[in-house]
Amino acid sequence: MIRLSEIDKYYSSKFQRTFVLKGINLNIDEGEFVSIMGPSGAGKSTLLNILGLLDHPSEGQYHLLDQPVHQLKEKTKTEYHRNYIGFIFQAYHLIEDLTVYENIETPLLYKGVSGKERKSIVADLLDRFNIVAKKDLFPEQISGGQQQLVGIARAIAGKPKLLLADEPTGNLHSDQGEMIMELLQKLNKEEDMTIIQVTHSERNATYGSRVIKLVDGMIQSDEKA
């Protein structure tokens, strides 16, 4: 599903290049649950951004679903965001001015899903995540764990093939963190969703099927769990 070959990411100043990622070769198959780990500054988030088409590599090729996405135009990237990729953030990044319901509905609006269908999808998600009672509340009115549930619900509302999570439990205490990780695992197992998460926590990594360790922008190890 994902094929990275010789991906470099660097920032050039006058005299030197600073590499954030260097020579990344990586294949991820559909249905994998990959954890990217590593110390601060290792390039984890940059790699995730490149995978999510939010950033582009300086060198190298990236094939997503057999398409050479490193050649894509902005407009087409938007199409990928709408249809194939979902994001979960450490800080949830819910839209403060929208209710829980509306937050989940947003990607469907951009995707152009009809009103009736939107209603059933959102209702289904609310039900599944047990947050029906919260649907008319605003993000600041619910707990962090619930916000992240909404974040996940929103990320998967458009039925993406690839779910990217940047420290999804980083802002949560352990109980809530566990709940979120279990949910991700379930999504991976039951719906065969490909998930890539960035995490600092060894424990969180155990929920996945594969752990990639990054150090100084290079892959140090790549192990199946």
Partner: protein, 786 residues
């Protein structure tokens, strides 16, 4: 769409202060624009309601000094002009003379003072629109017939079918005359430079004044309108030829010209410059309001960055984001427009009251205006957010991950906007101060006479004959100090002129400047408090040919070294030789727009139209009652009494300046309050963004006052830059405005300084309130949220 409104509504709810400031600024801006547009429309509407409006022209007349300079420009011409033009200019379809006058009518034993009475030739009915007149080709052809407006018909007879009824008046010799009504027309309620209520046949007037007046080239009392369907391009040359043909060498001293009916309002009663100035100022206010909007939107957007970023990641295209932001903005502006319309609707009567204007806010028949406003509003809405919307939506979502806020081009764009607001405010404050200073200068300038406490009443030959008795009986009352008869009174124009020659040692020299005359009696100087510099005043025994008084200006211009030298000199004025018996001090007979003119004074009781009465400031009503009683006693009965204060008519000379002052005051207050509000919101935002920095600095030992200096520094810099730009502009604009006055206040440096200091003070006060709060806060609070 529903989502769209919801987001907008919640955005407003979330930032009530910013939204309120935005709404306030935009609403006021739109209100100003709407009001000024209505006003301009009103100004442009004068005399446009006639079917022939674009084909009607008025004849006006110039007089020239021997040196070729313009001496006098009159909107009315001599009675000889119309018949000659009709004969000589084949392009003229029809032409009419109109003699305006005031009348006291009598009907059903009641007296009515009427000011809108015109003697006019029958052609007036085909040139202008008079709706409702009977189909009769011979209206206004017979003596003692007239047509009146429907409003007057209701007033006099309480019905409209009044043809055949009679309204009478008493001529000055006491004869009762009956005027037969031959038609009723719909009153001109539209804007017009004249509003006839009674049109009396011109032949009636001719029979009153006689042949001599009708053949005069000097009696310029006739407004003359011509219907010219196709105006020849060489009209000026043709007119000059005609004048030269009828007056030998005529164009060397006088010319006639024509002006379009629709230009009359601007040429004589208004000033197009004021329209441009007010339109620009109201546009500036809208721009100031929009700047607030733009600035605060930038502030709000940097808070919405998070949202926009997330939306992008979820697949919102830039186009979609821009259209959302622009849509929100347009809707917001339309709300402001709606509110503004309400405000204008509510305050227009008040505005009319202050300015004495007849403005109306009618939406129904004004579709182009409404469409224009909506277009302007949409434009404002789009322009105010387009830039930030484009910047925002093309933002790379991950580069703003750290969420340090937006910096639109290093803030220089925003700085420019704020500087512009200060610039407008300072320029307006300066202009206001100068207008204020000039008007108070006018109010307090020594006119060379005492204009206070003088009552002017009309008079008739009967009263003039018994003026001495009238005076004696009045001055017996201690509250009546002095009574004087004259042809006109100060604050009127110096309209009476004649040829003048000076004789010295048998040599006769023509005076080559205009020397208008003022015809007064021996009590004029004491009534008006004009000082006698040399020689003597008139006395009771003097007659018209006994001698002349001149003012110092006249003595100077003739070339006499001193006032004393003038005494005893011989002047021949309009052919009447007499000695100069006295020289009086210069005083401002006319407005301060023009320099003091040389004048010559002589007695001429037969010309007296007015009586000026100096009264004490005490017991005014009783004094007025007494004057009226005596006036009735000595006048022909059946005249109604009216009076006015000289001081009021002097003030009326500056009516348009007074209006400008009022409008400028409003504009200034509005502009400054919008700017202050914008400043509050902006400084709040800028300081909020530096809360962490402030905290860190405090922890490292900065004290409150050092922090305030740091926070206020920028704003002071902006005011200074704005001041540097505003001052030359205001100086230039106000110097040209002051050019309208022959006597003007100085453009002292302190006015500009004061405007700058005021703006700086307001800005500092506004900003300091915010910065003090931020700077005096416990730094722990600021840092805790990291």
């Amino acid at each position: 769409m529903k989502r769209f409104f919801k987001t907008l509504y919640r955005g407003i709810k979330k930032n009530p202060l910013n939204s309120a400031i935005n709404l306030f600024g935009l609403t006021l801006g739109f209100s100003c624009i709407i009001t000024i547009t209505i006003w301009i429309q009103n100004e442009l509407s004068y005399d446009t309601f006639h079917d022939n409006s674009d084909k009607i022209y008025r004849v006006h007349r110039y007089f020239y000094n021997p040196d070729g300079s313009e001496n006098l420009h009159l909107s009315n011409v001599a009675p000889t002009v119309a018949p000659i033009l009709e004969k000589e200019l084949k392009e003229i379809e029809s032409i009419t003379r109109v003699k305006h006058t005031g009348f006291t009518f009598r009907s059903d034993n009641k007296l009515y003072r009427e000011e809108e009475v015109c003697f006019a030739e029958p052609e007036i009915l085909e040139i202008f629109n008079f709706e409702g007149l009977p189909l009769d080709d011979h209206l206004l052809e017979d003596p003692l017939t007239m047509v009146i407006s429907d409003e007057q018909a209701m007033k006099y007879f309480n019905r409209l079918d009044v043809i055949g009824e009679v309204i009478s008046f008493y001529s000055q010799d006491g004869q009762k005359q009956d005027l037969k009504i031959v038609g009723v027309f719909e009153k001109w309620n539209q804007n017009s430079h004249f509003h006839p209520e009674f049109l009396i046949s011109f032949i009636t007037y001719e029979s009153f004044v006689g042949e001599e007046e009708m053949n005069s080239w000097g009696s310029n009392n006739y407004e003359t309108f011509a219907l010219i369907p196709y105006l020849p391009s060489d009209i000026d040359a043709q007119l000059d030829n005609i004048i030269d043909e009828y007056l030998e060498d005529g164009t060397s001293w006088t010319k006639v010209r024509i002006e379009a009916l629709t230009d009359i309002h601007f040429n004589w009663h208004s000033n197009k410059t004021y329209i441009y100035v007010l339109a620009s100022i109201s546009l500036l206010i809208l721009i100031i309001g929009s700047i607030n909007y733009l600035n605060l939107n930038l502030a709000m957007y940097s808070r919405r960055l998070e949202e926009i970023k997330v939306r992008k990641i979820m697949g919102a295209s830039p186009k979609k984001l821009i259209s959302q932001l622009v849509g929100e903005s347009v809707l917001f502006c339309l709300t402001a427009l709606f509110l503004a319309a309400g405000i204008v609707y509510l305050f227009l009567p008040e505005f009319n009251h202050i300015l004495g204007s007849p403005l109306q806010f009618v939406l129904t028949d004004n579709f182009p205006m409404i469409a224009g406003f909506i277009l302007l509003t949409i434009l404002t809405g789009v322009l105010s957010v387009l830039y930030p919307a484009i910047v925002l939506s093309s933002f790379n979502p991950i580069s703003t991950r750290s969420n340090q806020g937006l910096s639109f081009g290093k803030n220089s764009f925003r700085t420019a906007l704020v500087v512009f607001q200060f610039f407008v405010s300072i320029a307006l404050i300066t202009s206001f101060l100068i207008v204020y200073k000039q008007l108070s200068y006018i109010q307090h300038k020594e006119l060379g006479l005492q204009k206070e406490n003088i009552i002017v009443i009309p008079t008739t030959p009967q009263l003039i004959e018994k003026l001495d008795v009238f005076r004696q009986e009045l001055t017996a009352n201690p509250n009546i100090l002095s009574v004087s008869g004259s042809k006109r009174v100060p604050s009127d124009g110096l309209w009476d002129n004649n040829d003048a020659e000076v004789e010295s040692d048998g040599v006769v020299n023509t005076i080559d400047f205009r020397l208008p005359n003022v015809r007064v009696d021996e009590h004029f100087l004491s009534t008006y408090g004009v000082p006698l510099i040399a020689g003597r005043n008139f006395d009771e025994t003097d007659v018209e040919s006994s001698g002349y008084l001149i003012n110092e200006q006249a003595a100077r211009q003739i070339g006499w070294e001193s006032a004393e030298e003038a005494i005893g000199q011989v002047i021949s004025y309009g052919g009447q030789r007499a000695n100069v018996i006295g020289v009086i001090g210069d005083f401002h007979y006319e407005s301060l727009h023009v320099p003091i003119s040389p004048i010559i004074l002589y007695k001429d009781p037969s010309s007296y139209n007015r009586v000026s009465i100096r009264v004490s400031p005490f017991d005014r009503q009783r004094t007025l009652d007494l004057i009226e009683a005596k006036w009735q006693q000595y006048n022909v009965p059946n005249y109604s009494f009216y009076f006015e204060y000289v001081e009021d008519s002097y003030n009326r000379l500056y009516r348009s300046e007074q209006n400008i002052k009022i409008i400028l005051t409003y504009f200034m207050v509005i502009a400054i309050s919008i700017a202050i509000l914008g400043l509050i919101a902006l400084s709040l935002f800028m300081i909020q963004r530096r809360v962490k920095e402030i905290g860190v600095r405090k922890v490292n030992g900065a004290n409150t006052s050092e922090l305030m200096v740091m926070l206020n520094k920028d704003f002071v810099k902006w005011v200074i830059i704005a001041f540097a730009f505003a001052t030359p502009l205001a100086w230039y604009a106000m110097s040209s405005w002051l050019e309208n006055f022959a006597y003007k206040t100085q453009l002292s440096w302190w006015i500009f300084g004061l405007a700058g200091v005021l703006a700086l003070g307001v800005a500092l006060l506004t900003v300091s309130l915010q910065s003090w709060r931020a700077a005096s806060r416990n730094p722990v609070e600021a840092l805790r949220y990291e």
